[in-house]
Subunit: 180 residues, 2 copies
DNA sequence: CGACTATGTGGGGTGGTGCCCCGCTTTCCG
DNA sequence: CGGAAAGCGGGGCACCACCCCACATAGTCG
């Protein structure tokens, strides 16, 4: 890849990052190209679809979330580690404009971002399941889907509201049993 | 309201219903107006926003779902009645193109459709909570939001997948306790 | 029954979008 | 240092939502 192409790509991602943070996942691509100082054709050549661009924009942040999952493996309580990570994921999704939309739509084009999250969370789920703290028939992809869904629905609400709903979904609606 | 205005309104809703079923919630308004045999200005006068139109399109189906909630009050098992209704709601949302999108976006403009569902489900939740079958700190609006969220996330998947996720969220991820 | 008025209509215009073709510039490598 | 290939962006296309305004029609009152 030529040097100027790399430079342009970086400028596009930077401009897109700012535009998406301000206007959401459906920010104008033309405006992004203008802000980056490139022609719209260049943007379309680097990123064939809007989702390809969003994936590039959020790649670093998703990697950070994956790293966080690794950290949480040190947490002694496996159940708490899993729920904490899922709640943090939800909080991140609701506070970062456009992230959820990108995560939910991107899989159709390329699974990388969603797949990264599922792969990163799997050790947490696995450990909790082995210790009998989580039903073994629950797949990590289910949990990530659940969190993404809640984050999307709560995008207009507050972040705490999203966390509350995630905890509700993880605990279920049945009243807690006395005998533990 | 003049007779021809009523007739035009009905034709627009009918055309919109077919277009949305075919193309989803973001079907072209121009095309809908063309199919209805009216000018685009007429469509925009009757429905100031896309969501107003979608609400008119789905009004009858939402009413049918509300009526179904009334029927389920006759089910002896209160917990089962509630979960059944929520699953049916999810199934309906995933099979009816554009419904979820309309439900999730419309509240910002007018709460009628979402509010109707919450109001219709409340007796079911209330009865289950009184019998101690459902945590009392769970609000009906939470459950409807949860189902809408899952339906949206599973729109690209199958309807059974949506139902599975709804049941998962309602039961929680903890393994079932032996002592019941 | 006929005319008058308000209500409803739709063609056409505007500004904006995503996407693409094609002649031109820049970079890199031999 | 020269040429081929890779990259660039202006301009064009089709489409969109939305709005303005001259015109037609429905409902009402004399």
């Amino acid at each position: 890849m030529r040097a100027d192409a790399q430079r342009n790509r970086a400028r596009i991602v930077k401009a897109a990052s700012e535009a998406v943070a301000r206007d959401g996942a459906y920010a104008s691509l033309e405006e992004i190209a203008r802000a980056a100082g490139v022609g719209s054709a260049t943007l379309h050549r680097h990123f064939p679809s809007r989702w390809a661009l969003l994936e590039a924009v959020f790649h670093d942040r998703v990697e950070a979330l994956c790293a966080r999952a690794g950290e949480l493996l040190a947490e002694p309580n496996a159940h708490r580690a899993l729920t904490t990570w899922l709640c943090e994921l939800a909080a991140y999704c609701t506070t970062t404009r456009g992230l959820v939309t990108a995560l939910l739509r991107a899989p159709q084009e390329s699974e990388s971002c969603s797949a990264m999250l599922v792969a990163a969370g799997e050790p947490l789920r696995c450990r909790a399941a082995e210790e009998g703290l989580v039903r073994s028939d629950v797949a990590m992809v289910d949990l990530v889907t659940l969190v993404k869904a809640i984050a999307l629905a709560a995008e207009s609400s507050s972040a705490p509201e999203a966390e509350r709903l995630v905890r509700l979904a993880l605990q279920g609606i049945n009243p807690p049993r006395r005998c533990l």
